[in-house]
Subunit: 582 residues, 2 copies
């Protein structure tokens, strides 16, 4: 043990996820660590850091007992899949699996059945851990994966196995019961693969982005360092007591979605109390924030919209919650101001990342030369995607590969270099080379950059609307529409057009208790967009559809692919509003 | 360029000091970056980040022009020595030299002439950069180093070269003048050596601890991450505006001393304004804090004592200064409380490290389960060395290599593993192996640990006093004596004794305006030490010497080696106080 670590390893002291996991255990063994509330039964499972860690050790021993093979650099260990929501067991898997050198593959259970099967077969997962609530899904794909998967493990708060045809099923609690509660973790090479995260596959088959221990460790410590330098607007003494290790995190982002934006690593290394809720419901969210005095959470804009529309919101004391990080798409200023008016403790800020970047690479904060701005100006900055996290190289490049001017207008593609950007898609050398062409990781996202360096996402490259010779800035339009009091959700897609190539169609969902029609949308855009110089008249949507439901992806983003596939349905209720443009 | 970096390097995206340097330049090119005040002339040199960076680039080009050879892993590049105080030029060297792959060797100019010569010859420094004020030192060692050193560079705020026999001398400003102001920095391997820091050699010849880019980068980002989680006591909203990137750092610790405790890296990565003062004087310190609105500084205890004794202290507005990190020895509680009573904005906290650990490995902060304590209890925690920085493994081991109980009493040796602990002394394989025996870096420092994990340094192993069968806790005695109102400095050393082996001798310096004698010291120790149970009667000093001057090392610590060498001088003025023990 000594010979392969020190001093030989002092220059290469390996950066491992086990170091992250052990910090709260050593520092605060007896303090509350992980809290899980079963969303069905309402029952709580509470663990001190030491109690939770002992379960991680037991799980690791059990995995070793199953003969799980660890990896070496360039040769991943066995892949272990999870089909699971946000539970303490999922967090145990997040550390035990990479801890012994295997690869954690959190399967996005909101993908189509075909894609779930594809990712498990592509990853060649040897063991599948799944939640009791996902038994129907596993049974429905069993015949397509049982030749690959050797073993299925059933995760439930209730003892006993279900009546199922899944062969050799074992209960998670039986698997770990009786295993040693301490572990001599292997001193892995830091370049051993730790996780495998598939993209949602909105274009083609999902691709599996690979991440090593080193990469995830470095993302974690850089995100923490970024928090140390970044100005948090309107910080009060009470806020300070809610930051750093005093924070209570509601781990809201699904753990099958790009490491839940890094929260399982950052919160553990910070030794923050972590609250897990299985899955998001607006009522459950409010109950847990109030009861556990949650201080910080990451949400997508659609959840913000759900909170805004929730009629019982006033019944809860959510005043402990001060840090609301919004991701998975641009944060509309209107949504931020409307929600912060209802919930004055909230400080919502934006960020940007993607599966391939692990994901955190851009985050919104107030530059020190802009701290004197008023609330409205500050908010306008905080809804931008933000500035690169320290250690990250970000450029916005035009078609010739040159950086665009910092005029907040000219758009280009965001390209990235970061110590934690994926090196390659698993078993996809050609798509990996395509991702990394020209020495940069190409995000496929279109953005502009202002003179202070703030990046604003203009569009996904594939969602860009080309009307005539011009590009319609769909995200800008969406954010403008969301400013209207009467709007709770809005998205814009291109509709094929013989004359213009494409014309913009806006889908708008009304806020409960408000009334408005298609003409009101255009009138609002003219007053608050065209007249203010934010857009030009030719960018106005040609079509507007008022709808009760806008399709979402498995991670809560507007699903433009699905909207385009079901375009006839939306065109049927859309109104041509070009007569209202003048 | 591309082929050797990306995507091949995305898992190994190299952790380099150039990344640290480029962050403030990209983020805040036009904001104040580096301020230097010449301590003799009082003239200021002010640089925006961009202006400072351009000089770094020019220096790098000039070094390349001199044929400086870059290193590869396990084979350091050319060693470049600095004999310099804290100036903007020294900070330029801190980045330009490692940036091109060479090794920076900051020579401790307070070492003896013999040791300065030894380190330059041992390092085989190819170029020596030296301050104009250090010309006499360089001339005095010239004959002993001119066969090794190829080139000497003269650093001065005044143009022109001095009249000197140093061959081929060139002025720093002439060297960099006309060089390009931009640089395509080489994408070095992160394991290339960046710095070479010699110990002060209080035992034997100085040893050169080596550090790579990766190590210094990781120390920097971990120290920043630690700041994000650690509770700062009594944080006020005004404080928040003085932290992170808003901070103004007075870079007070000599840059020839263990990377000035990491400040040149941390402050640059944070994009804090950096104030350089050449060297410490109490008046210069107060003037610069007031004028530049300094918020944070690192000092040794002797500087704290000098501030306490400074009669003009009340003439300055030092209220901007809130973070005072004390290192280089234990922080006496009495010194902290006395100084904070005079300067209410000060929040002094402790830390621990050594040359071999780069140095930051232990830092004092308030655990989240202890934030409710009152000021006195909080202060008692903050004067302890503290808790391990995240990512660092620290143990206190007894003679059998077992961790000591966490009883805050039993002492053992501090041993360390950290991603930034030196791998080896330069060209000293045997002493390196001795340092790293048993899989741990052995610090040679004796400490105890309390039930919360706070480490308290009890002694340097070589300073331990063995009286009879017992060890006298010298640091505890020193801190107790410093509690007395009438004391400004105190240290305790062992005096050989035929009966006891050793007996403790206390050297005490009176605070200006106070009167006390040897008997008062013992009376104070009995009341505040023996009667309170902090020490037992047999630990009381057998001898006390009231003295106007206690010898210090080159970095401001009590120089116990020198005291022992000049023991007769102190014994001549010492009084045997054993009759006062009862």
């Amino acid at each position: 043990m000594e010979a392969r670590t020190y001093p030989e390893f002092s220059t290469h002291y390996p950066l491992l996820l086990t170091t992250i996991m052990q910090r709260p255990v050593r520092l605060y063994p007896d303090l509350p660590g992980v809290v899980y509330r079963n969303p069905s039964s309402g029952e709580y499972a509470r663990f001190t850091w030491l109690a939770w860690y002992r379960r991680v050790c037991q799980l690791a021993h059990a995995l070793n007992g199953l003969g799980v093979v660890p990896g070496v650099p360039d040769e991943p260990g066995d892949r272990i899949a999870t089909l699971a929501l946000n539970t303490h067991r999922h967090l145990e898997l997040y550390y035990a699996v990479p801890g012994i050198g295997a690869t954690l593959h959190p399967v996005n259970v909101r993908l189509s059945r075909e894609h779930v099967i594809f990712t498990i077969r592509h990853a060649q997962d040897r063991i599948v851990f799944f939640d009791d609530t996902l038994l129907p899904l596993v049974e429905s794909i069993y015949d397509q994966i049982s030749d690959v998967v050797e073993r299925f493990v059933y995760m439930s708060d209730r003892p006993g196995l279900p009546d199922t045809r899944i062969a050799g099923l074992i209960h998670y609690e039986d698997l770990i019961a009786g295993q040693p509660e301490a572990m001599d973790w292997p001193m892995l090479h830091e370049d051993v693969n730790a996780t495998l995260c598939y993209t949602t596959g909105t274009t083609g088959q999902p691709k599996g982005a690979t991440f090593t221990h080193r990469q995830l460790y470095l993302m974690t410590v850089h995100v923490m360092a970024q928090q140390a330098v970044a100005n948090t607007p309107d910080a009060s003494p009470a806020d300070a007591a809610r930051l750093g290790e005093n924070a209570v995190l509601l781990l809201n982002t699904p753990m099958y979605h790009i490491h839940a934006w890094g929260a399982p690593f950052v919160a553990v290394y910070c030794a923050q109390k972590i609250v897990l809720h299985g899955t998001f419901t607006v009522q459950g969210f409010c109950e847990l924030v109030e009861r556990e005095k949650v201080t910080s959470v990451g949400i997508v804009t659609t959840i913000a919209a759900m909170l805004l529309a929730y009629p019982d919101l006033h019944k809860y004391d959510l005043s402990s919650l001060v840090r609301v990080s919004v991701g998975g798409g641009a944060l509309p200023l209107g949504l931020k101001t409307k929600l912060e008016a209802l919930l004055p403790s909230f400080r919502m800020s934006s960020g940007y990342g993607m599966t391939e970047t692990a994901p955190t690479i851009v985050t919104s904060f107030i530059r020190k030369d802009l701290t004197g701005l008023d609330r409205a100006q500050t908010d306008a900055l905080l809804v931008k995607a933000g500035l690169p996290v320290l250690g990250v190289d970000v450029e916005v490049l035009d078609d010739d590969g040159k950086p665009v001017p910092r005029d907040d207008q000219t758009v280009g593609e965001i390209v990235v270099r970061a110590p934690w950007a994926t090196c390659a898609y698993y078993r996809e050398p050609e798509r990996s080379a395509e991702l990394w062409r020209g020495g940069w990781l190409h995000t496929g996202d279109i953005a502009r950059i202002d003179r202070h360096g703030y990046i604003t996402i203009a569009d996904r490259a594939k969602d860009v609307i080309r009307s005539g010779a011009e590009m319609v800035p769909t995200v800008l339009l969406e954010n403008l529409i969301a400013m209207a009091d009467f709007v709770v959700e809005a998205t814009v897609v291109g509709v094929p057009d013989a004359v213009w190539g494409e014309r913009p169609l806006a889908l708008v969902k009304l806020r409960p208790g408000f009334e408005a029609d298609e003409g009101d949308v255009i009138a609002f855009l003219k007053t608050h967009g065209v007249d203010t110089g934010k857009i030009t008249k030719w960018m106005l949507p040609a079509l507007v559809a008022m709808t009760g439901e806008i399709p979402k992806t498995s991670v809560g983003k507007y699903n433009k692919k699905q909207i385009r596939e079901e375009l006839d349905r939306f065109l049927a209720i859309a109104r041509d509003v070009t007569d209202r443009h003048d």
